[in-house]
């Protein structure tokens, strides 16, 4: 999956309205980011990559780039 496609799906899943977002965007800087957002990311990654992340793993993730690394760089182009 192209990185920009993933970022767009990420924005849709978390219903992010702000314009500026790239792979360096810190997750905790996203307006309204909370425990529900964590569950939404887990559901999104499961849906797109059939990979089940845990809340503990996501607690270590700083930004979208490190999320993609956690999912597996082989999944992105």
């Amino acid at each position: 999956m192209e990185k920009k496609v993933f970022i767009e799906k990420f924005r849709e899943a978390l219903e992010i309205k702000s314009a500026a977002m790239d792979e360096n965007t810190a997750l905790k800087s996203i307006d309204g980011y909370d425990s529900m957002s964590v569950m939404a990311i887990i559901a999104l990654v499961d849906e797109l990559f059939s990979k089940r992340l845990t809340a503990k793993q996501l607690a270590e993730v700083n930004n979208v780039k490190s999320l993609m690394e956690l999912i597996g760089p082989e999944n992105f182009s």
């Binding site: 899943a13 219903e15 964590v38 559901a43 809340a55």
Partner: protein
């Protein structure tokens, strides 16, 4: 055990007996004297359940509950050996947590197939082909507190469990003339492998907060299994179309 709660010699079909609530129900049914037909996806874990049970004429069958057309063939050998089926406990379940904007028709269909339709199809086949018309019967569907109280990210799961309660009330009316009772149990959070999987998506703080919402703490499979024994036994002979809430006090506030 008090004779009113005995299942001596009764044949009980349990779906989802590989683990969690279904496994515990199978063990408790065997202790109450029943012969149990266990359905599940995994032969190894079904065999582990069998090893925990009091010996009787039990059987296990590996089945994909999405394959509705296979049900009659899977049940038939048990009937030939043990006779008609008295009770059903539909405990097989899928969990799906996701925001509504990621909850698609396929998610609803997958979860409805296992949580709701599979139980109704098992009931249809047993009631029409494999039920003892003289003895009657008792069918129990495991619903959920989520059918009654909303929570974020559980739209599909809640819908499937709500369907179980709604359909059971109508089914209870139809099957009453065969002296078959139909009831549901709505547990809140019960410590099972399914719950462990759900907890993995939550922070420790969220889990702590959920525990605080349950004055008696989270449930154990035994809590639900005891209610199943009651509903399967003659102790509940005047009860049909009802739903038992088991929630450690979650809903009393």
């Amino acid at each position: 055990m008090d004779s009113q709660f005995s299942l001596q010699g009764r044949n009980i079909l349990i779906s989802g007996a590989s683990s969690g609530i279904g496994r515990c129900v199978a063990v408790f049914c065997s202790r109450a004297g029943a012969n149990v037909l266990m359905l599940g996806r995994n032969e190894k874990t079904l065999s582990e359940t069998l090893e925990m049970m009091e010996p009787a004429r039990h059987a296990l069958a590996v089945i994909d509950l999405n394959d509705f057309s296979s049900y009659a063939d899977v049940i038939a050998p048990f009937i030939e050996k043990n006779g008609k089926i008295y009770g059903i406990v539909h405990s097989a379940g899928l969990e799906f947590s996701g925001p509504y904007n990621l909850t698609k028709p396929r998610n609803f269909q997958d979860i409805f197939n296992i949580n709701a339709v599979a139980g109704f199809e098992l009931s249809r086949i047993v009631a029409s082909k494999f039920a003892d018309n003289e003895a009657g019967g008792s069918y129990v569907f495991i619903s959920s507190i989520r059918a009654l109280f909303g929570v974020e990210f559980a739209t599909a799961y809640s819908a499937s469990k709500g369907a179980v309660i709604a359909a059971s009330r109508s089914l209870a009316l139809e099957l009453a003339k065969k002296n078959i009772r139909v009831n549901t149990i709505s547990p809140s959070l019960v410590l099972t492998p399914l719950l462990d999987k759900y907890f993995e998506s939550l922070s420790e703080e969220t889990i702590r907060s959920m525990k605080q919402q349950h004055p008696l703490g989270f449930g154990k499979p035994e809590d639900v299994a005891n209610a199943c024994i009651y509903l399967l036994s003659d102790a509940s002979r005047w009860m049909t179309g009802n739903n038992i809430i088991l929630d450690g006090g979650y809903s009393v506030r």
